[in-house]
């Protein structure tokens, strides 16, 4: 076992554990936020740079610090490693910078976004963002794209985390979904706007940390904080049939995979369970789903909100 210390808290973990995984085992404030890493998706992580931490001591054998901040989601611990997350001003600064970069071209259209309330980027900005922007240029914009009749893609909101690419690649046989172009012009795309048609395509919605991939059957139907999530199961031939179903009153508004505290789904569900079983009679209810404490669904209110003096009309955006 390797001993690792993160923000002065120590834990023993198996060799091969990443810093992020070790931090999650400790829990609480030592856990760096992660936007692109998803533990069920091979090769994910390393891209968004929100999870960067400082390695103040490489290992007991070689105590030198690492020269740069490292992506905690893809860096394995060594025995005696000492890591700084919130205790390092450099980390806090770098994380603020990453949030600024991620929001640069983001439309900030939370009021009309279905993801609002359960959006990793919203949570991240709430914790690390600034109230002002230094960006005066025009934001890049794209048209919305329907990827088949169940999923809609809003490129403006995409943070290019590649999770959906890995999900599409790893959950299905044919590669139909990837990245076009490069740099700031990169775009998630299907091959010549093809629909993604396979039994597990809906999971791309669950792995998307922002509101870029949304469930067309749920679009604009409700706000997530008005819904009561319940864990439920059914017998299904395609997947485990274990899901979270979202009620308002007696009506089921949507079905999703079960997300853990870190927004990760561990048992991917099939499209039949997700899109077709929208009656409570389809499901055996187990009980209420616990929502992570940081989530706005749970908080139901924001602290430290700056009330803008002018509220721009957002009517046009609401189409």
């Amino acid at each position: 076992m390797f001993k690792v210390t993160i923000d002065n808290k120590s834990i023993e973990v198996e060799p091969g554990t990443t810093i992020l995984q070790a931090a999650r085992m400790i829990g609480g404030d030592v856990v760096p936020p992660a936007m692109c890493y998803h533990s069920e998706l091979k090769n994910s992580g390393g891209k968004c740079r929100t999870c960067m931490v400082k390695v103040a001591q490489g290992s007991a054998a070689d105590p030198r610090p690492m020269p740069k901040l490292v992506a905690s989601c893809r860096t394995e611990v060594m025995d005696g490693m000492v890591v700084e997350n919130l205790t390092s001003p450099q980390v806090v600064d770098a994380r603020k910078a990453v949030v600024e970069f991620l929001l640069l071209n983001h439309p900030l259209d939370c009021p009309v976004c279905d993801q609002a309330g359960e959006c990793d980027l919203q949570n991240l900005s709430y914790e690390n963002g600034s109230n002002e922007t230094r960006f005066e240029e025009e934001k890049r914009t794209y048209e919305k794209i329907d990827i088949g009749d169940l999923i809609q893609f809003h490129p403006n909101r995409c943070i290019l985390c590649y999770r959906c690419v890995y999900a599409a690649d790893q959950l299905t046989d044919n590669r139909v979904h990837g990245i076009l172009y490069r740099g700031e012009k990169s775009e998630i795309s299907t091959f010549i706007h093809q629909a993604i048609e396979n039994d597990f395509s809906g999971n791309m919605i669950d792995v998307c940390p922002v509101g870029a991939l949304t469930d067309k059957t749920f679009r604009f139907k409700n706000r997530v904080w008005f819904l009561k999530p319940m864990d439920a199961h059914r017998s299904c031939t395609k997947c485990k049939g274990e899901a979270t179903i979202w009620f308002r009153g007696d009506e089921v508004y949507r079905v999703t995979g079960r997300k853990d505290t870190y927004g990760e789904v561990h048992d991917f569900i099939c499209n039949e369970c997700r899109f077709e079983k929208k009656s409570s009679a389809d499901w055996v209810i187990e009980g209420p789903r616990k929502i992570a404490s940081y989530s706005v669904i749970n908080q139901n209110h924001y602290k430290n909100v700056v009330i803008p003096s002018v509220i721009n009309p957002i009517k046009e955006t609401m189409e």
Partner: protein, 452 residues
């Protein structure tokens, strides 16, 4: 200090062909390596030689080779990085164009040293002519028994393939290159694992620059110790410098490391001085990624020592007063050059070439370009200058691959040394809107005209 290793016999008519190359002493190292030396002997000689990677980072080649995993049981690969796309750098192209067998000879010795039976040359897609030349040269070598099965009867086999890139600077980054060679999108990989452990097709791989590999034949023939006698300190051997900009003799020069920068700029054997008898303003000594230095700091270090063409001397003073040897792309600016426009031009390049995987580089490069574009076109504000410094510092060190740093450094350095030019652009929007070139002083004399 003229000393030819790589460009030796470059002037001989027909040296591009195998026949003439061999008549002039080419390929003797193969016989020596395969028949009298073990692979480890060669690695040891390369270590002794002190040869450092010529692709930009200057990492000791022998050490890189010794990291290669020889125990995994997987095949090992040697890959030559001929993606040369850095603005200001055109030395590999010159070598490949004129003396391709120098590289092939070096690659055979190197592949043997690494125990590799398959090697690739990854060539920048735009180098169409060079791809033809290389393929022709490789064909000749196969015919002469220098490649293929049982080379020169030694029992050693090597296949060498040319692979064309599709026109992306990022594919010069070694792990992006490997991805591209595997037929994938050229996104850099996260390191570790390094290619020496898990490279091409997950197998141990060494990626070296063209010029690095072109040195190996000479080292095998003459020994590492002889090589280490050339050059200065830890900068052993010679270096190809591609000189361009406002000079009288732009071109590719092989210099012995340690040549004073002043001599390189003003001697008729090299750059031949600044064109038109103008004043020297600044130099970027190692390709567009490295910091620009004003005249006083490129000719002498902050301590007043003459600046030399070597890894150590050029980087003396760190990034505050120094720069880097980089890839040897030596760009000279005369008194009329506009540093703001030049910086904008580079930032446009990095924006265009970012692969877009990681957020600081993807968003930051495009942001810097927009801000620089505004300043260059007379629409900048004073606070934009510090904003640029801030963006650059937030990209630097926070990205997956060094392209992010390479995009940030030129911006940081230009503002560090030429802040007044940026301020001039902000304060004189009418002048800069109408004049695209010219130094600060020149701007002031130019009568303001209304544009077309």
């Amino acid at each position: 200090m003229e000393r030819k290793i790589i460009l030796e016999n470059i002037e001989v008519e027909g040296i591009r062909s195998l026949e003439v190359y061999r008549k002039n002493g080419g390929y003797t190292s193969i016989e020596k390596a395969l028949k009298t030396m073990t692979p480890d002997d060669i690695v040891a000689e390369v270590k002794t030689s002190g040869l450092r990677g010529r692709g930009g980072a200057g990492f000791p080649t022998g050490m890189k080779w010794s990291f290669i995993d020889k125990k995994s049981g997987n095949p090992r690969y040697l890959v030559c990085n001929a993606d040369e796309s850095e603005p200001g750098t055109f030395k590999d192209r010159y070598l490949l164009m004129n003396i391709p067998h120098r590289l092939i000879e070096g690659m055979i010795c190197s592949a043997y040293a690494l125990g590799s039976n398959k090697a690739y040359i990854y060539v920048r897609g735009e180098f169409k002519t060079i791809i033809g030349i290389l393929n022709e040269a490789i064909k000749e070598s196969y015919k002469a028994g220098l490649l293929g099965k049982n080379i020169l009867g030694s029992g050693y086999d090597l296949d060498l393939h040319v692979h064309s890139g599709a026109g992306a600077y990022i594919c010069g980054e070694e792990t992006a290159l490997i991805e591209s060679l595997e037929g994938k999108r050229g996104n850099p990989r996260l390191k570790p694992p390094f290619p020496a452990i898990k490279g091409l097709y997950g197998c141990p791989t060494v990626v070296n620059n063209v010029e690095t590999l072109a040195n190996i034949g000479w080292i095998v023939n003459n020994g590492g110790e002889e090589y280490a006698k050339i050059g200065i300190g830890r900068s052993t051997g010679t270096k190809l410098i591609s000189a361009c900009g406002n000079i009288n003799n732009p071109g590719v020069y092989e210099i012995e490391m340690g040549l004073p920068v002043e001599e390189f700029i003003y001697s008729d054997k090299y750059c031949g001085g600044v064109k038109g008898g103008k004043e020297l303003k600044a130099v970027i000594p190692g390709g567009s990624s490295v910091p620009i230095l004003p005249k006083n700091l490129i000719l002498k270090t902050a301590e007043g020592q003459p600046r030399l063409m070597s890894y150590e001397s050029l980087s003396e003073g760190g990034f505050i007063t120094g720069s880097m040897l980089g890839s040897g792309g030596f760009i000279v600016y005369d008194e009329d050059a506009c540093i703001v426009r030049n910086t904008y031009n580079f930032s446009r390049f990095y924006h265009h070439e970012s692969c877009g995987q990681c957020s600081p580089c993807r968003e930051g490069t495009s942001w810097m370009e927009s801000v620089l574009h505004r300043i260059e076109n007379g629409e900048g504000k004073m606070k934009d200058i510090d904003l640029l410094v801030s963006i650059a510092s937030k990209i630097e060190g926070n990205t997956i691959c060094p392209l992010g740093d390479a995009a940030a450094w030129p911006v940081g350095a230009a503002i560090r040394h030429f802040r007044s030019e940026f301020e001039f652009h902000v304060e004189n929007p009418e002048i800069v809107k109408n004049v695209k070139h010219g130094s600060l002083e020149k701007y002031k004399e130019v009568p303001v005209t209304t544009g077309e």
